[in-house]
C-alpha cells in the first residue's frame, strides 16, 4: 500500500474514533497553528503608527505559504463575538526571519474591523487567515525607474514593496491630510536620508487634493517610470485617464480598495433556497449582508468584490452589480459575488 493510501486509511480510522467530530476539532484545542490545521494566525503585537493607524504583527500558522510584496491577505476577526472578514495589505518584507508578517490598518469611520484592530485587538488573539493573494506586485525583471503614487492607507501595499525590494531610482508621491497622518513617516524619511527614495508629501488639508496634472512638475519623468498606484477611487480614476491619454497605460499598476457603489433601485424578495429562508432585500444592500442578517452562513472574504470568496450560485431571478450597475440573470452555472451584488427583483440564492 502506498503511503498516501495508508495515511488516508489512518485518517478514516481516526475519524471513526472521534465521530461526529473530526480529529482536528480536538487538535485545534492544543495546537491551532499546526501544519494541516485551517489557516489561522495569532496576533503577537499591535504598534500604533499614527493617531488612527496601527501595525498588527501576526504569527501565521504552519500552513502559511508566504507572500509576494504588494499582496494582501484576508483575515477573519471576531469583533463583539461576530466573525468579520476583511482584506489588508501585507506590509512586512517577504524575507522576515522570525516568520511573522504584518498588516497595517487605518481605522475608518464606523469601520468595525479596522477600529477593532487599531484600538482593541490584544496580543494572543487568534484570527482566521487566508493565503495571501493579489496581483498588485512587482515584476520579475527590475524596472530602471519606479514611481509609487499613493494616498492615505493606499501606502500599505507599497510599503510592503519598499521594504522588500530596493531599486536604484525610486520616487514616491504620497497624499495625506496632514504630516502626522502619514503612515510610516519616519521610516520614509530615513529612506530619503539614506538616498534610497525621493519623496513628495502632498498634505491635502493645506495643499488641496492632488491634481494629476501636477505630476509633470513633481515627477517630470513620470511617463518613463513603472508606476504602482494605490488609493481612493478618485485618484486612481484620474491616474488611469492620465496615463492612457499619454499612451503609457501599460506602465501603470493600480489597486482599488473599495468598490464605488452605484445606488441601484429595485430590490426584491430573496430566497436562500438551501436554508429555506426568504427575506425582503433593498436594491442597495449587498446580498452577502442580506444573507448574514437573515442568519444564513454566507462565505465571504474581502467584501469588496476582489477575492471571489463569496461566489454563490444564482438559481433564479436577477441581481445588479453594485459597482457597475450591470444586471446578471440566473442561468445554470451562473455564480455571483454576493458582496457586490444586490437583488434586482426577486431572486434565489443557493445557500
Amino acid at each position: 500500500m502506498t503511503s498516501t493510501a495508508l495515511r488516508s486509511r489512518a485518517r478514516k480510522l481516526l475519524e471513526m474514533v472521534t465521530t461526529p467530530l473530526l480529529p482536528s476539532d480536538y487538535l485545534d484545542l492544543v495546537s491551532p497553528l499546526r501544519a494541516g490545521a485551517d489557516l489561522r494566525g495569532r496576533i503577537e503585537a499591535v504598534h500604533p503608527e499614527t493617531g488612527d493607524a496601527a501595525t498588527v504583527v501576526i504569527r501565521p500558522g504552519r500552513g502559511w505559504r508566504g507572500h509576494t510584496a504588494g499582496q494582501y491577505v484576508r483575515i477573519g476577526v471576531d469583533v463583539d463575538g461576530v466573525r468579520l472578514w476583511r482584506a489588508y495589505s501585507l506590509t512586512s518584507p517577504t524575507d522576515r526571519q522570525d516568520g511573522r508578517v504584518t498588516i497595517t490598518v487605518k481605522a475608518i469611520p464606523d469601520g468595525k474591523v479596522s477600529n477593532h484592530l487599531v484600538r482593541r485587538a490584544k496580543p494572543g488573539t487568534l484570527i482566521q487567515l487566508d493565503q495571501p493573494t493579489g496581483d498588485f506586485v512587482l515584476p520579475q525583471a527590475k524596472p530602471a525607474k519606479v514611481l509609487y503614487l499613493t494616498a492615505g492607507s493606499g501606502i500599505t501595499p507599497v510599503m510592503g514593496m519598499l521594504r522588500d525590494t530596493g531599486f536604484d531610482d525610486v520616487v514616491m508621491v504620497h497624499c495625506a491630510p496632514q504630516p502626522q497622518d502619514v503612515i510610516f513617516r519616519s521610516e520614509l524619511h530615513d529612506l530619503v536620508a539614506d538616498k534610497k527614495l525621493r519623496l513628495t508629501e502632498v498634505h491635502t488639508d493645506t495643499d488641496g487634493m492632488l491634481d494629476i496634472a501636477r505630476l509633470d512638475e513633481l515627477v517630470p519623468d513620470w511617463a518613463e517610470r513603472e508606476t504602482w498606484a494605490c488609493g481612493p477611487a478618485g485618484l486612481l480614476d484620474a491616474a488611469e485617464e492620465h496615463w492612457s491619454e499619454h499612451g503609457v497605460q501599460e506602465r501603470l499598476h493600480t489597486e482599488r480598495f473599495r468598490p464605488s457603489i452605484v445606488v441601484a433601485g429595485d430590490g426584491g424578495e430573496v430566497t436562500f433556497s438551501t436554508t429555506g429562508k426568504t427575506v425582503d432585500a433593498g436594491g442597495a444592500t449587498p446580498l452577502l449582508d442580506v444573507g448574514e442578517e437573515a442568519g444564513v452562513l454566507m462565505p465571504s472574504g474581502c467584501r469588496m468584490g476582489i477575492c471571489f470568496g463569496c461566489v454563490t450560485p444564482l438559481k433564479a431571478g436577477a441581481v445588479r452589480d453594485l459597482r457597475t450597475g450591470e444586471i446578471t440573470e440566473a442561468e445554470p452555472g451562473v455564480l455571483i459575488q454576493t458582496c457586490v451584488s444586490a437583488a434586482a427583483g426577486p431572486c434565489d440564492i443557493e445557500r
Partner: protein, 372 residues
C-alpha cells in the same frame, strides 16, 4: 382545551401588549449580545471536548473499578453537555450570529443517532411552531402516548408507562424514529417513498458510526478493558438518555401545562403565539449547575418564547418573563426536578387509563333530590 381557560381574563389588547413587552425583552438581549456570549459557548465546547477526551482516556484502564467509575461518570456528563447545552442550542441557531462556520446550525453534528438535519426539522420547525397543539406537535406524547384527557383513550395506552420507560432508556433512538416519523412511514405505500428512504439511510449511517465508535472502536482500543469499556459507554448513553428524557418531559408534561386544539391557532397573532408558548411550557427550578446540565432547558418557558436567544441568557431573561406572568396573572409552572418528573410521570400513568366519570352530581339528579 382544558376545562377552565387560564387566560380567559385577558383581553385581546392585553395579549398584544404582552407580545410587545416580550419583543422588547428579546431586543434588549440581541442588542447586548457579543463577545462575552461568544466566549461562553467556546469555553463550554472546549470543556466538553476535554472532558470527553480525558474520560475516554481513563476508560482505557476501566478494568480497574475506580477508573471505570470515574470514566463513566465523566463520559456521561460529556455526553449530556454535547446533547443539551451545546448541540440542542447550536442547532437552534442560537449561536449563528457569531458567523463561525464551526459553531453554526448548518454545520453542527452532535453525538446522537438522529442526524442534526432531521432533528432540526422535527424539533425547530414542527415542535417550536406548533407547541402543544394536539395533532400538530408530535412532541406531545411522541405519538405513542396520550397526554390529555380530551384525547381518545385506546387500550394501547394501558402500556404507556412501559413505552415511556423504554423510550427514556433508548431516547436517542426514539428521537431518531420520531424525526423519521417512523410510525406513519412504515405503512407499505409510504415505505417506498424515495424521500423517506433517503432519510432512513442517513439515520442508518449515523447509527452505524455512533455504534461503531461507542461499542466497537473504543472498547477495542481499551484492549484487555474491552468489556468494561463497552459497559461504560453503554452506561453513559443510558444515563444521558434518561437524563435528557426526564428534562424534556418536564418541559411540557407536568400538571398545569396547557394543550391546544388545532383550530385555536388559526390566524394566531404574535401575542397569542407568545401566550401559547407561555402556557404550554414548564420550567425546572434549581442551581446554576442544574440549569447548565439541562442545557438551560430548565428555562423551557423562556426557551419557547425565544428559541434563538443564546442559552446563557435565559436565566436573566427569566426574571423579566416571570414578572410578566405575574403582571398578567398567569401561572408560571415551575418546580424542582424530582417534583416535575414525578408530576409528568403521574400524568403518564393517569392518562394510561380511561377518564374517570365526573363525580359531581348531575343537575337533573339534584333537581330530583330537591323535589323529593
Amino acid at each position: 382545551m382544558t376545562a377552565i381557560d387560564p387566560t380567559a381574563h385577558l383581553t385581546a389588547e392585553q395579549i398584544e401588549e404582552l407580545g410587545r413587552e416580550l419583543d422588547a425583552i428579546r431586543d434588549e438581549v440581541i442588542a447586548d449580545r457579543g463577545e462575552k456570549d461568544a466566549a461562553y459557548i467556546r469555553k463550554v465546547i472546549s470543556a466538553q471536548r476535554k472532558l470527553e477526551l480525558v474520560s475516554r482516556g481513563v476508560l482505557l484502564f476501566s478494568l480497574f473499578p475506580p477508573a471505570w467509575l470515574i470514566g463513566t461518570a465523566g463520559l456521561s456528563v460529556a455526553k449530556i453537555m454535547d446533547n443539551m447545552e451545546i448541540g440542542h442550542n447550536i442547532l437552534h441557531g442560537q449561536w449563528d450570529w457569531m458567523r463561525d462556520p464551526k459553531i453554526h446550525s448548518t454545520t453542527w453534528e452532535w453525538d446522537h443517532v438522529s442526524p442534526s438535519e432531521q432533528w432540526k426539522h422535527s424539533h425547530n420547525e414542527l415542535h417550536h411552531t406548533y407547541t402543544n397543539v394536539i395533532g400538530k406537535d408530535n412532541d406531545l406524547g411522541y405519538g405513542i402516548m396520550r397526554v390529555d384527557e380530551d384525547q381518545r383513550w385506546h387500550p394501547f395506552h394501558l402500556g404507556q408507562p412501559l413505552w415511556n420507560f423504554i423510550n427514556a432508556c433508548f431516547f436517542e433512538y426514539g428521537i431518531a424514529a420520531y424525526d423519521l416519523e417512523l410510525g406513519k412511514n412504515l405503512h407499505k405505500r409510504r415505505r417506498k417513498n424515495p424521500e423517506f428512504r433517503a432519510r432512513a439511510r442517513a439515520v442508518g449511517r449515523k447509527i452505524r458510526k455512533q455504534v461503531l465508535k461507542d461499542y466497537v472502536i473504543h472498547p477495542l482500543l481499551s484492549g484487555p478493558s474491552f468489556l468494561p469499556t463497552l459497559a461504560a459507554t453503554f452506561t453513559a448513553n443510558l444515563v444521558r438518555n434518561i437524563w435528557t428524557h426526564s428534562v424534556i418531559m418536564c418541559g411540557h408534561f407536568p400538571e398545569g401545562v396547557q394543550v391546544f386544539e388545532r383550530r385555536s391557532i388559526k390566524g394566531e397573532t404574535r401575542g397569542q403565539w407568545y401566550l401559547r408558548q407561555m402556557m404550554g411550557s414548564a420550567n425546572i427550578s434549581g442551581s446554576k449547575a442544574m440549569h447548565f446540565m439541562t442545557g438551560n432547558l430548565s428555562h423551557q418557558i423562556e426557551h419557547h418564547l425565544f428559541p434563538d436567544l443564546p442559552s446563557n441568557r435565559y436565566a436573566e431573561v427569566a426574571v423579566k418573563v416571570r414578572a410578566l406572568f405575574e403582571k398578567y396573572e398567569l401561572e408560571y409552572v415551575t418546580g424542582p426536578l424530582p417534583k416535575q418528573v414525578l408530576s409528568a410521570w403521574h400524568k403518564v400513568f393517569r392518562l394510561s387509563l380511561p377518564n374517570k366519570k365526573p363525580k359531581v352530581k348531575t343537575p337533573d339528579r339534584e333537581q330530583e333530590l330537591i323535589a323529593a
